[in-house]
Symmetry: C2
Subunit: 518 residues, 2 copies
């Protein structure tokens, strides 16, 4: 058995079932091995950022890694932006990158580059297999690394001769180090902080945002009066009917500072400190109130749910169904809107029609705010957010989520600017017949940048500057682009159009795109 | 004056006239500075790989750098694949990357990453400006680094506060270290090698492939009988009527080995050794014949034209117009083809109709061979090749070439697979109304990989493997995609169609796309 086959068999042994790939010559043996091993599904992308973003979306929903298959340094480079998002989301990904044969590398052929150097910034673990006999063991270790402790991207670099040379066959899965259990002393410290008078704030991210974590948080709030905020850029949250909901930490610096103002205690559950996304002249970047030292109840390596449940018990919070006021969200669907189509009515329609158990991949920077508010009381769903701030995540994450959860409807809501970074995702949606409805918020602008231009004090911008933020001229036609990649597409000009189109998409399976003219 | 303005003024002082950008919040002051400084044109791309590839194409044609403006680590990452190609092409590029404010970085906000680490593999020089007062000097040094000696990518990383803080104003351009003049001893050694009996081979790349270099090479050949080959992946060659033409070194390993067989002397002029593109099981990677130690007449840091002229003089070669047989290519245009449209007729039509002084950006892996042969006797043109092997170069390089040379027709011939990596290029072509005709060779396959699958010995591939090489299902419609980005598009099903469409495009200015159904 060659090294390539030992790789694929070991990955399957380790629970990896899907390979999001864009291979080249140096990966041909790995591609050939896909046919010889049962249990590995190959999903082709036309651009590597689609493959890595899909691996992120898959990992968020499946709770285990997919693998990628990328072609040398440039193929890896094209996938790095979405690996950055996966890293910041703590998503387990096994990132497989082909390399020149060990003896070929020194010759500096055109495609030679420093693959380890390129991988390191976005990976928690990087390994180059030295020979075919090492591949299986390295692959099992890659899965272990991706899944253990603080989860993330494990990059396995495979020189071409490790694929075609003889191996010792596959190995079994390695044991995973699960998330860290809550520490008794820290739980006590958090409970003590919550007993104090004055304003107390808790910031949450990670698995604390699943239903069980949110329920425990609601119990703690009911008992202690702590104010709870959800970190701005969470990878995944369960939301909607039956699930307690908490406001999000705002995005802009003055709003974050205001939210944190007067807090005397700060408890972090899988969340970083309240840091601004960007720096702004004359404004604080770390909005932790002066003199407050946060209690870190859970890091991203911890089990946030277990930590919150331990804290709820430590403060003697009643069970969720024994609370005076039930904190679980009641279903409250907005009416379908009529008339002009702006981001508000768009959000209303989505909230009204989103089916039970939908997955919502959101990358609508300025156009997604209303949708976020309206869907808080929708039918139960998962919301996947832009975790690392690198736009071009929304469509690929939807691809991966839909592959992981074929029986659930996936809705991807993206800005027009953001959608163009990885627009090739549409083709993979069509090829795999994924049940994804992509909603493009077509405002013909990097709208967030028009706001940021003012925020950073770069005022009085002239026409050349403003043209760098305006993506009209020419207008993009997403319905043409979608049809060009085999995806059924429609354009909504009015709220009534969008009601009809979104309803059609929710009632019919398969990949579809709606271009919403904002 | 803030640091951002000192940057733009210094770049303009240093001869940089174009900025290919995809900015974000951290770059807003640099964007605002574009309006306040005369002489810098901003060209927006919807994806960073378009911006970096365009900077490569611009540098190849203008002989001086454009700058980029990219957003933090992920924006840089999206541009790395085409920076790899620029590096391998020795194209001068000033790669400007925004970074978080110096005091913001330690807070590990979502978009934080190791930008220096990401830049290093594709850059010859990397510098992070520590403060606003350093920006102007660093910018002048970036241009000097990009242009001096072995040209390449100079990456300048600018924390946001270096943009908005007060600077000391711009600085003047720094002196450039031009290409290295030929070394007398090396020229003598090469001349001596050419006097020997037996088979002598010369491989050429770099500026040796401009008309003057090719003329000097032809004189040397006429006098000494040396066999001359052009390196497979050259960044730019002048070709066609009036210019001597030499065969290219083949791509596949057995063909390279055969080409080099029996050579007793090997002279390298700006070219690496005859190394295979990939390694293949049981085949040699370095096809330099055993026992032959090449004479390196010119490295990429040398002036290949001057080296060849010195060698021609050293071997007492007559002037080009005194040679017995004039080596300068006679115009020989093929007839327009009829009937079935395959890559042969496609190449014939392009060769027949390519206008004087056209620029041909080629990334048609399997479909471009016939075109290469037919155009050797076309009207005079520049051919820009895939230099670093990272596909997704063809369209962006055409963008940059057309910006550099607005009075010349640019033709981009790309495979369908390759075109999809940076398909967002079409939008920039439309926005800037660039005179580019994009020809998509739609064979619905990563056709080169079907060949490579056999070459690497991964035979008997099954349906799952073959599906990873087949990009039909669904078929891409490039005419829809082009229209979606504002580019006039047409589809050619027969040779007659293509004759009509290509003729129309050559006779009319502006961005157009022809999808050739192969």
């Amino acid at each position: 058995m060659n090294g390539a086959r030992s790789l694929v068999e070991t990955l399957v042994n380790s629970g990896v079932e899907v390979c999001f790939s864009n291979p080249g010559t140096s990966e041909m043996h790995f591609v050939a091995a896909l046919d010889r091993v049962e249990g590995m599904r190959g999903v082709l992308a036309l651009f590597e950022g689609v493959a890595t973003g899909a691996a992120d979306g898959y990992g968020r929903m499946a709770g285990k890694p997919a693998c990628t298959l990328l072609h040398l340094g440039p193929g890896l480079a094209n996938g790095l932006a979405n690996l950055h998002n996966a890293k910041k989301a703590f998503t387990p990904v096994v990132n497989v990158v082909g390399e020149h044969a060990t003896y070929h590398k020194a010759l500096n052929a055109p495609l030679t580059s420093d693959i380890e150097g390129l991988s390191a910034p976005m990976s928690k673990w990087v390994c180059t297999s030295p020979d075919a006999k090492s591949v299986a063991g390295d692959a099992a270790e890659a899965v272990r690394q991706a899944m253990s402790g603080e989860q993330g991207v494990a990059t396995l670099i495979l020189p071409a001769n490790t694929a075609w040379d003889e191996s010792n066959g596959p190995v079994a899965a390695l044991p995973i180090d699960g998330p860290i259990a809550p520490d008794g002393e820290t739980v006590k410290a958090a409970a003590k902080a919550l007993e104090k008078p004055g304003r107390k704030v808790m910031l949450m991210n990670g698995n604390a945002l699943r239903a069980k974590g949110l329920e425990a948080a609601a119990r703690i709030q009911a008992k202690t009066g702590v104010e709870i905020f959800v970190d701005t850029f969470y990878p995944r949250s369960e939301r909607g009917q039956g699930i307690p909901v908490f406001p999000g930490l705002p995005y802009f610096p003055d709003d974050i500072a205001k939210t944190m103002e007067g807090a005397e205690e700060l408890i972090l559950v899988g969340s970083p400190r309240p840091v601004t996304f960007f720096a702004y002249p004359g404004k604080k970047s770390d909005c932790t109130p002066d003199g407050v030292e946060p209690v870190v109840l859970a890091t991203p390596a911890h089990d946030g749910i277990a930590a919150l449940e331990a804290l709820a018990d430590a403060v003697n919070a009643p069970a969720i169904d024994k609370l005076e006021k039930d904190p679980r969200t009641q279903l409250n669907l907005p009416d379908l809107p009529t008339g002009e189509l702006t981001s508000g009515p768009m959000g209303q329609t989505i909230a009204a029609l989103l089916p039970e158990n939908a997955i919502l991949s959101s990358e609508a920077a300025t156009s997604g705010l209303a949708m976020n508010i309206f869907t808080a009381t929708s039918r139960r769903h998962d919301w996947l957010n832009l975790s690392g701030g690198s736009i071009g995540q929304g469509l690929p994450v939807a691809v991966g989520a839909a592959v992981a959860c074929p029986d659930r409807k996936t809705v991807c809501v993206s800005g027009d600017g953001g959608a163009m970074y990885t627009i090739q995702s549409l083709w993979t949606m069509a090829r795999e017949n994924l049940d994804i409805t992509t909603v493009i918020c077509a405002n013909r602008s990097y709208a967030i940048l028009n706001i940021e231009l003012m925020n950073v004090g770069a005022e009085n911008a002239g026409p050349k500057a403003l043209s760098m933020l305006n993506i009209g001229n020419p207008d993009l036609s997403f319905i043409d682009i979608a049809r060009g990649m085999g995806v059924e597409a429609m354009r909504s000009e009015t709220a009534e159009d969008f009601n009809d189109h979104f309803k059609y998409c929710m009632e019919n399976k398969g990949p579809k795109l709606i271009e919403v003219m904002l």
